[in-house]
Amino acid sequence: MTRSRSLTVLIALVLSASLALTATATAATITMSGSTSVAPLATKLAKAFVNQPQNKGNVKFVILQGGSDIGITDVSRGRVTLGMSSRDPKPADPGGIVFNKIARDAVCIVTNSSNPIASLSQTQIQDIFSGRVRSWSQVPGASASGPIDLVVRTAASGTQDAFQNIFMGQTLRVAGSATTKSSNGLQAQTINSDPNAIGYASFHFTAGLHPVPYQGVPCTLRNAKSGQYAGSRNFYFVSRGAATGIAQKFIAFSRSSTAQALVASNWVPLR
């Protein structure tokens, strides 16, 4: 009795598995790799795309990470359908690839909430992070005293890359004395518990911290949207040549108003 029942269950399992196999066999697959900063947004968009009525069961996503440069290299060699990039095109990039902008993201300079600095200029930020200025007494408008504690992200972080590009430029480096944290959470916690700390973060990670206005413009979603806030970066899906087929549909979907409404929750939509 029990044996025949378990046999029935087994047969049902095999049947459903083979059904699932035939279903996936017909589905188109979009593979992506690249920026760890874009990946959460790409995952969100992919989920929404897969759940659209006309795509149900027809599209599959494989999303890998690794950093913007990995995504760009992969797509230029045809290893993935789309690359994810959180940096702008560079002259040294491989030829024949197209950057499709899908969203924007603001990078804020953040300090402990007990140290609400009114504004920092690019030169001031460069002086502080490169170690030329090491005491809060040398920073006008700072209410903290004593040495400046730099709290930055590890080399593999996309936010580190964006900070370097937006605020530091290509030649300046962050001072070697800086503490490097492996995640947004640890970085935020460190800045939160140290009144002398300063760091940077994507603006949806700034809760509980003081986002410092950059060149007099507060780091808010609205200012980043209007383009007044200069510390923002672009998110791209990179294709090899102009995107075609299902990849083209996914990019078009990502830029549609439906998808941009999803973008607006944590990032800056295109319009």
Binding site: S33, T36, L64, Q65, G66, G67, D69, I70, T73, A92, P94, G131, R134, S135, S145, G146, P147, I148, D149, L150, T154, A155, A156, S157, Q160, R173, G176, S177, A178, T179, T180, K181, S182, L186, Q189, T190, S193, D194, N196, A197
Partner: protein
């Protein structure tokens, strides 16, 4: 019982005959060996480009490790232009300072706690103490890390480090509370329970007649314990230290949270400031950078960290084995 079942349970007959079971279990044991050999081979093959490019200079100091890692991560995509330059001494030194500090402090605590449990504590106290020690050994390290980063690190940063002390080294390193002393403190709390458990077992295994013999000669309780029991249990104390060192070497998450995450080699010449300087042990450096694993030269550098950790734990077992040999004579086996 049916006739066949009895026949099958006899040695040398039936499907599960002794010879077959022996071969089967032997195969499983060989599989474990094969797994270890394969793993070591894989790690070293992956790590080789990093060692080959830097040579022995890999183990020396020079420049800022964080900046070097950044350069490796930003390597051009052409394999001929991969960057491997790394001088990993601050990471190695950090690993050594934190591990040695915690094990040295821990072994003293563990030894006296174990002596108390075995020789002096009333049995009612033991009924509570021993389960608590075993429970402590099972607490996940990330819990200790959370307590460290939320409570101890801010407290140390606010109350123990003066602004003058911060300013005295501000050009080199930041003192914000996350430091080797907090790392050593929490690591000690983490490894002491295992050491206590091992030493307690060893002290209990000391033959009662030896202790009674010493007591009969007129030695007091402490002298008997110190000269007979502890002396006999020395191999177990070494074993406890080796096991604790292995755990401390591999501890990544907790230390990454409380030990400062700066690739800095704390300098003992700095006096008390030394205790508040941050560092980043190898295992923490590995886990903190793991999101860059897919960048080929960066991944190979991380595998080089892993290879160094593997080799040090192998040498550790070897050193423990050698140390125990000379103590075997009067010892009980751990």
């Amino acid at each position: 019982m049916p006739e066949e079942a009895i026949a099958a349970s006899r040695p040398g007959t039936g499907f599960w005959s002794d010879a077959r079971v022996e071969r089967l279990l032997g195969a499983v044991a060989c599989l474990v060996l094969l797994l270890i050999v394969g793993m070591i081979g894989f790690v070293f093959a992956k790590a080789w480009p990093s060692f080959a490019d830097n040579g022995l200079a890999w183990f020396t100091s020079g420049g800022d490790v964080d900046l070097q890692l950044e350069d490796i991560f930003a390597s051009p995509s052409n394999p001929a232009e991969y960057v491997y330059h790394l001088r990993a001494w601050p990471l190695l030194w950090g690993t050594f300072v934190v591990t040695a500090g915690a094990v040295l402090i821990g072994i003293v605590f563990a030894l006296f706690a174990a002596i108390f449990i075995v020789e002096f504590a009333p049995s009612q106290v033991n009924r509570v103490l021993e389960p608590v020690v075993r429970l402590l050994a099972a607490v996940p390290s990330v819990v200790y890390g959370l307590i460290g980063i939320l409570v101890i690190v801010p407290w140390v940063g606010e109350h123990l480090i003066s602004i003058e002390r911060k300013e005295s080294v501000a050009n080199l390193v930041q003192l914000d509370g996350a430091s080797i002393s907090v790392g050593i403190l929490i690591l000690t709390v983490m490894i002491v329970p295992i050491m206590i458990a091992i030493v307690v077992d060893a002290l209990r295994a000391v033959p009662r007649s030896w202790i009674e013999g010493a007591a009969a000669l007129g030695a007091n309780r402490w002298r008997v314990t110190w000269t007979i029991a502890v002396r006999t249990a020395r191999p177990a104390i070494v074993a406890a230290a080796v096991l604790a060192t292995a755990r401390a070497l591999g501890e990544a998450i907790m230390l990454s949270m409380v030990a400062g995450s700066a690739s800095f080699a704390p300098n003992p010449i700095d006096g008390i400031t030394f205790l508040f300087e941050p560092t980043r042990p190898l295992a923490s450096a590995l886990v903190e950078n793991v999101e860059g694993l897919s960048v080929v030269p960066f991944g190979e550098t991380l595998f080089a960290f892993a290879a160094v950790l593997l080799v040090s734990s192998m040498f550790l077992s070897l050193a423990g084995f050698v140390a125990k040999q000379s103590m075997r004579k009067y010892g009980v086996r751990p």
